[in-house]
Symmetry: D2
Subunit: 507 residues, 4 copies
């Protein structure tokens, strides 16, 4: 009988299953899941002993071996080896105990649990740590954007809509805008942590337990905020994956929009921005080249969560609502590359923000014809002369069409003509008022309302963003502390159980 | 000059643009947006007058016309007609005022705003109402599921994993599990409302305002919870669409899983469930047919938000971060069919849940061979005789393989033989203990732990779900009340402004 | 008993099914499918009579009514009315015959067929006509692009990579490049027609026929190229939908890339292109605005097939392989909006290509600094002086860095210095050779190899594209002719059967 | 100056770019692309020498080194090492030549080309080989399905629609149906090879060549079918990726449908199918379990190309139409995991088909109540007694409702009663005719028309599928032969150039 035979299966897996499924999965699980499995196992055994479901001496022996394995795994040792045949991480893990400790106590730990609740738990543990890491990169980008927005609150440029010059604004205002949308996605990810961080342990195969387990204790020892209430839900559901991927997808899409603007503005036709040589690429064939190619990688990485999101949703579609490899193994697998790509995108974006070089003169120069002040001119006419805005808009459009905005004098004379034509009577216009109305700098300074680029307005926006980022920082630290404390509790309980069990054996 | 010429454009739109873009859009906007535009416009004009940016008499005239139009629109009148040429809803709307009231006051309302902030506002208003409607269907489904879970808390069936009989459970436990995952998605949608319900008004074209507008007042009159802080963000971002679609997508996928189980269990091979004739389909060719085809429509409708989600993300990718038709018009358009399809799916699901007919005998019959109690038997051996679980599992597997679980007597004798072989000594086993351990009904009654199907356990789960659903109901009512109150405030302010302005004119 | 009861269903559909499913479907099917159903029905009845499966008089009566209905439907009449209860188009259609002609012959036509093969057939018929229409718009765009490429074969501009000036090229070369990728997608769609245009009739419910039907005759009368060989495949599969959507998706993505370039080049910073006023949009708030907003609609429409593709694949996932509403009704429904959006995108793209206004001077001006000739200079050094290309590239990079390429004299002197430094000996360089090597115009004229922008090269490319487009035109005409001929055959057979049957009745 | 400085970039890449981009990419490229780059480089250098663009001695030295490197790489040697800083595979490769051979000839090979055309070429070469491998797995699955269809042409079962018993059919007919849809996708992939297998070399950076290169020669030496006509298209387009992914996606979706049926039919409720123990999984907790879990992995792997397809389309959206890392590097990267997953799915599917164990008795038993012959009974009534089919259908429905079909005697008496009620006169019905009409076996034998499950019909279908599969086999062999011949030509040309160049050096 094969070592990989189990239950009433009389043979190990077919070589092709081994090649295509078990082997590739094990390589990944050994690295990412084994350290977590050791903790889940320890917490479960501690609980079994405390509930009187496992003899204390048995628990002590299991936990001592667990402690030993954990130390060796932490030290980089490949404790499970590469057996020529196996049926996946968990059975290999359990077999290892049996081989080392004998059938009793080696084969005793799987009472009142199943691979189903274990896998559900491992997936959530892995995700909470990876999500925590990603949130770190995200808040660092938000920090950088806030600093850049602050720094460029006075860097005047033309705002654009439909790629055409629109109204005067500042680079700082733009950056604060991008950061605002990003912040909401990051907050969404932060909210998702509370959904992720709940324990499925106790659900066993999805039908709960007749034995009096204490899932709350296991959850506490693993740093979870609580348990999943229904055992079918606990093993069947992976909705949190979609929740996380949805926010990552949106985060990525905002980054593509940001990168698109940066790419345009760093192109020669604009010449607003550039980066130092170590962020630029040359060409093997075109000697003059200096390409901001990182923006293309950034976009490429940033959109990856979208494909993962689709794959996860597709992978879950029409799967029976119970434990299923199709969901727990296949569909959920799309999370990890998405998190990695999103982290890459966030780190590249931060690098580009922090090392941005701005050509303030080029930025200002596009405002030189004062065309972007046409709205301000129309508003001036509407407010100063009580013109209906639509009429004022048409007058300003005429001047813009004629290119008259560039020169206040020219502007004034044409304005007077237009107003006379419109009102049927001469109306003198003050040169200094026209000059002020069509001064891009003045427009920006005045734009203090409606979330505009006025200096105080931007300062308020940045302060608001910083407060939200700080709250995100604080919650990250809090999660981490909670998990560290749980780890300590688990270590403490493990030590106590080992000591107690051995005392009992000795006694 | 064409009536549809604006600014310095000297011609109306090309006939092909009219045919392909303006006309189809207007048909949709007339129905869904015009009633909302009237309110946004009223709130803006009230604010302009209060801020002294618009003469009170002008504001009064505009608002009187607005009130009149609103009444006619509410009465089903097509107030804008079908002009042979136009450039979209807003300009048509404004042109209507000018035609009716003359350039002054007719052309005065567009001060300190833009189609950009108006469109961003309309989209959020429409979404909040449609989301509110959808949440209504969602909580009704959750109510139905809770009732059904309650009703079937004692309806014993086999649980399945990988489609094979797993452990005894109840239909109520299964339904509570499905409802748990659905509830999280619905809570996500409810959370999204707070993101949606903020006002972009004041952002104008995306560069804020130099005029001293009061965006907070406008937001209050429209029932928003607050304003968007940065004007670029206000007009460029539609991340809330992705947030809503992400939750709808997950909701839909859970429904496909539910429908898949219902379809299997209502197939002749299972025969667990059926529905009355008015929910079944026959065949034009196969006289014996009785098909639960609605489950197929349900799945088809339920997955539609996934495609919309992809379209929305794709539509936003690499669009410059500022107002863009590609985002505000094209990408956001995918929301509405997704909401409609999700509503359909929720309503179909509720209908199927409420009218479910269960064949309890067929459900129980699959448990007759007691194979699904093999886990319970192994646990019994592990706890009662301190066998390592793995050894107990192998013993139970042997009995299951031999089909010995069906008869307690048979089971006992083989068990004694297996235990003697394992332990090297005879070990008498009590028949009543074996009979109890392998009794599916007893298994279910005992499964009170880990979120299992035990009666008290399910009762607790249902109570928890009901409390969450009730909270969702309460928040829905709260939103609605808030919007009703805002509508009253807006009507009050409008009336006051009309009265005040007319008094002033008269005075 | 309800009129909508069938088989052993004793009740019509539940009102909610009617509201959510039957009614909305019927509205669409009445318009798009009823005219096709009439033809399918006629072909089937002609075949049944010819095979002796239906009495000639019965067939004649059915076909006479069919002919009458077809004429009324063609005339715009709503022949089926709006019954308060029904179970979909087909049963309504058949009920109409029974109501008009009595149970015999009215209820005789459904022998040896099913709604399953009828629906599969209607879907293919509808698709072939809509695909034919789309191909018309596609080849018209290809025609326009070929003309524009021809016209701008001498319109010199800078080529760009990573948005930075790369090498001199022409607008014509660029347009031919875009057209090349589009052409492959259009050819893919044309290939798909052969997959679409096969008949499922005869497959009945998916299990073929025991009655001696002649599916080949039906296929011939409907203009199909042949039949589907396996009846399960005939009713279960809709892979052609994915095939068509895949090509539409790619077509759309190429259009987004094209639109992105056009948008950049028509922005003020580039100023290469614009369009007449009737293709531009203004702003309600910014008087100076002139936006090429149609490019944003174009991109928004162009990407829609991607979402439809996802929805279709998702909708088919894990559906049992047999007739299913989830596939035949729900998943396939995503085809039609995708085809409509793709048509819109193609028509908008063509309009923009045909009415493009090019500012040749602005286009040329970006070449003025001759930086884009650095590759040509490196090649000159490599070939003329046998320098290793990498060394030549470094020399040219140095000159580009110093901005020396703009002036041949300056360039020559620095070149001589660089070469002396590299080779350790003076090397005189001819001014005219340098001037020629760094002349953008000369670069373009020389680029005759490797599919470059040289005039003869572009002419060859355009000729090649035109030949392929002409082949696409020819195939489109051929399909149409084939279908027209089949229609005539069907009409002829119908008339003959009516005449023969009536003669028989009379005789 | 950094070794990774190029052109006028004075610094190597930032460490973060190195960590996030260059290093991970290199690991993959070293394995998959370096062997191909060696061939592309050799072909290009041979061509340059033949065109007189490179001195024969220089070419000989480069090619000798190339030959040496190719041998070492084939032997598994890591010839490029792991430099602490680099700018990607190509520059590392060229630097290696310069380090080994000196600037001359080491730096001479990059004349008249660019990384852009090289990368485009490498991607196509890699794809053609991977696609070739995938087609091998695909045709093997088709072979297996044809054999299984043949073997089970007489294995009678109930056909199902909407999961309910429909009409009698055979397992062979079902398998031929699935194979039919799969075959079309595989043929689509085979067609795609012709699109993939064209050479971009000569396009250089996307603007062709002023130097008289011979792209046709390079294409021939690399086994391509020809060149890409337009150089912008050559470097900008990756539409073939979407074409391949579209077919892979559809292939995968068909496999999910197949797996869904297999899973249902192998569930205990059906019990039609199973597999040997080495393809089944047990449970760590449930001793009685025997799960066909491989079907879940199969579905999970099969859907992966859909996510890749979305990622590729998304990654290309709105990228300027020219060489771009976003397309060439990022978007195209999604191809490879999709091909790997599709291969896994195909191999798993084949394994499951080949080792399928069928329980013919269980399959037949579901036909025992003869309900599935109701259509046949209705047809019998319609043809034998000239009843309108609808009336016959209603009569049969009545009998089916009463469960009368199971017994011919019972059936006959109720039939006579129903016919008398319908026709108003007694009509004797022959027992043997009724027995024959309602015999499932007889139904299957008769279903020879319309692609049904009759033995000759299935035989014809399988023969047709086998012929198509054989054609696919033949084309695969042909591609391979062509590439082998090109490799030989390239080796021959390389040897000749080395010999000639060295002779010249010696001479």
């Amino acid at each position: 009988v094969s070592a990989a035979a189990t239950g009433h299966l009389t043979r190990g897996p077919h070589p092709l299953l081994f090649e295509l499924l078990y082997e590739p999965q094990l390589a990944d699980e050994r690295r990412h899941l084994l350290p977590l499995l050791l903790r889940v196992d320890a917490a479960h055994v501690v609980m079994l002993a405390d509930q009187g479901l496992l003899a204390r001496a048995v628990a002590a022996a299991l936990l001592a071996h667990n402690r030993d394995l954990a130390a060796r795994v932490a030290g980089g040792e490949d404790v499970l080896g590469s057996p020529p045949e196996h049926r996946g991480l968990y059975l290999l893990y359990e077999r290892h105990y049996i081989a080392e400790l004998g059938p009793q106590p080696g084969g005793s730990m799987h009472l009142a649990r199943s691979r189903n609740d274990i896998n559900a738990t491992l997936s959530r543990l892995r995700l909470r740590y990876e999500l925590h890491g990603l949130l770190g990169h995200a808040v660092e980008l938000l920090d950088s954007l806030a600093s850049a927005a602050d720094q460029h609150a006075g860097t005047i440029m033309s705002g654009f809509t439909h790629l055409q010059p629109a109204q005067p604004t500042t680079l700082g205002h733009y950056l604060a805008g991008v950061s605002s949308e990003l912040t909401r996605s990051v907050e969404g990810l932060d909210d998702a942590m509370a959904v992720v961080n709940r324990s499925p342990m106790g659900a066993a195969a999805g039908f709960g337990n007749a034995l009096p387990v204490d899932p709350g204790q296991v959850a506490g020892l693993l740093g979870f905020d609580g348990v999943i209430d229904n055992s079918a839900d606990a093993v069947a559901s992976r909705d949190y994956a979609v929740r996380v991927l949805g926010d990552l997808a949106m985060l990525g899409i905002t980054l593509t929009r940001f990168a698109t603007d940066l790419q345009a503005w760093s192109s020669r036709a604009y010449g607003f921005l550039t980066w130092p040589d170590d962020l630029m690429g040359g060409s093997s064939a075109m000697p003059q080249k200096r390409n901001a190619f990182v923006l293309e990688n950034l976009r490429g990485q940033a959109v990856r969560p979208v494909g993962s999101l689709v794959s996860t949703l597709l992978g879950m579609k029409s799967v029976p609502f119970s434990n299923s490899v199709e969901v727990s193994g296949e569909a959920t697998a799309h999370l990890w590359p998405a998190l990695a790509a999103a982290s890459t995108a966030l780190r590249l974006a931060r690098l580009l923000v922090e090392r941005l070089q701005v050509d303030r003169a080029r930025m200002a120069s596009i405002l030189g014809d004062r065309q972007t002040t046409a709205t301000a001119l129309a508003e001036f006419l509407a407010v100063r002369y009580q013109l209906p805005f639509r009429a004022a808009h048409e007058v300003a459009a005429g001047l813009a069409h004629e290119g008259a905005l560039a020169s206040p004098t020219d502007c004034r004379s044409r304005l007077e003509a237009a107003l006379e034509a419109l009102l049927g009577r001469p109306l003198p216009v003050a040169l200094e008022e026209v000059a002020q109305a069509t001064d891009p700098q003045a427009c920006v300074l005045a734009a203090e309302h409606g979330g505009g680029p006025g200096p105080d307005s931007v300062r308020r926006q940045v302060a608001g963003l910083r407060a939200r980022t700080e709250a995100l920082h604080a919650r990250r630290r809090q999660w981490w502390r909670r998990w560290q404390e749980a780890d300590q509790r688990l270590r403490g309980s493990t030590e106590a159980a080992i000591a107690g069990g051995q005392a009992r054996s000795a006694g």
